[in-house]
Amino acid sequence: MIKRLFDWLIQPLGLIAVSIAVLALFSLAAYGINTTQQPPAQPIQFPHRTHIAFGVQCLYCHPGAARGPAAGIPSQSKCWGCHQQIAKTNDPKSELRFLKAAVESGTPIQWIPVAQVPDFVQFNHRAHIAAGKNCEDCHGDMTNLTLAENPQVFNMGWCLACHVKNAGDDHAKLVKLTDCGTCHY
């Protein structure tokens, strides 16, 4: 039985079948990997670049970054603070209709943060800002982006590379910045 199957497999039709199966598996895997690399669908196509072009600072909407661990997503009352005075907000065709609808119905906008670390990593924005890091060092240049995208995967090697570089020759600092307990607890 096994031999017959084997014989069938090595004839041309069998070879085609095998290649199709292999290709199908491969493309499935490729698709799977690809989906994990797609940015999530956001409720509003928020144009970061427009806001930056108007001179809005990062910390205006994400003030938590300077104070504590989380930068935070602004509440819609903060959006509304400016947008209620902007005529375009009332344009029913613009993306802003979603904001208007959310504010009027009083439902929070369900944003999906893209810059995130696993929950076993304790990240603190404040310390990084205090150490002289700029937002774009990690989050990339937003001036040309609509939705936020990660310029790189926030993995441990990337964190460590910067930590080691930052510590320089200061041994005490290196110890602190490469200590497991600095981020994992």
């Binding site: 696993p118 929950d119 076993f120 304790q122 603190n124 404040r126 310390a127 205090a130 005490a172 110890v175 602190k176 200590d179 497991c180 307990g181 600095t182 994992h184 607890y185």
Partner: protein
């Protein structure tokens, strides 16, 4: 050649963070246990597993009996938690470096996400203070709302233990740094010490001779558990009485 000054004795202060526990005033009320569980997202395991020695307490209060009725006595309650040894036996045996010594905080770290669950560290801990996540213990909604966001929620197959509330250490250090100062003694404390109604637990910097924990630690009759093993524990006990 061994030079005598290289041999560390546990009587020397080697650590950074330490604790003094006064067993004479510990009433065994379990407030520390509850406080620890609430602070550190420690799971409860239910009747069957807890009866089989699988409870996850990071701190437990031990008591024994001396004598026979009517001359029976309860030995002083002994809160047992990770001693944050200066020379810990759990650390060298972990094949994955999941339990490592923090050089910056002088604590025994348990890195949950690196743990593969060989449980060698727990076997080798003479104090038996490590607890293992034998299962994914269910905490039905909405109980998880209470989780402390500063502490990782552990899943099955991972070892865990007392951290001396390292999240509080980091928070206090971060706060002090943002204000451009050093952490002040007594500015923060561990969850167990904070809750203890009898104030039997004192926590602080043992490398600072001015701190309360150092002052208390220099009283004459304190003991460190199993120090004959050379583990250099950082918790001093007073039996009192």
């Amino acid at each position: 050649m061994i030079r005598p000054e290289e041999i560390k004795m546990s009587s020397e202060e080697t650590g950074k963070w330490g604790m003094v526990i006064d067993q004479d005033i510990c009433t065994g009320c379990q407030a520390c246990v509850a406080a620890c569980a609430m602070e550190n997202n420690v799971t409860f395991v239910g009747e069957v597993d807890s009866g089989y020695g699988r409870s996850m307490h990071w701190i437990r209060i031990e008591r024994f009996w001396e004598g026979e009725y009517p001359e029976v006595k309860m030995t002083p309650n002994q809160p047992m938690l990770c001693q944050q040894c200066g020379h810990a036996t759990c650390e060298p045996v972990c094949p994955a470096f999941a339990t490592v010594h923090s050089q910056s905080e002088q604590l025994n770290l348990q890195v949950y996400n690196r743990c593969v669950g060989t449980r060698y560290c727990a076997n080798n801990c003479p104090y038996q203070v490590r607890s293992f996540n034998w299962r994914d213990y269910e905490r039905p909604e909405p109980l998880p709302n209470q989780f402390n966001p500063d502490v990782t929620v552990r899943r099955r197959g991972v070892m865990e233990k007392c951290t001396f509330c390292i999240q509080r250490i980091h928070k206090a250090q971060d706060k002090a740094k943002s204000e451009g100062r050093e952490v002040v003694d007594g500015e923060f404390t561990t969850a167990c010490a904070q809750a203890c109604p009898a104030s039997a637990i004192t926590f602080g910097r043992i490398d600072n001779p001015e701190s309360l924990v150092s002052q208390l630690g220099h009283r004459s009759h304190g003991v460190k558990h199993l120090e004959e093993l050379g583990t250099l524990p950082n918790i001093t006990y007073y039996k009192g009485g």
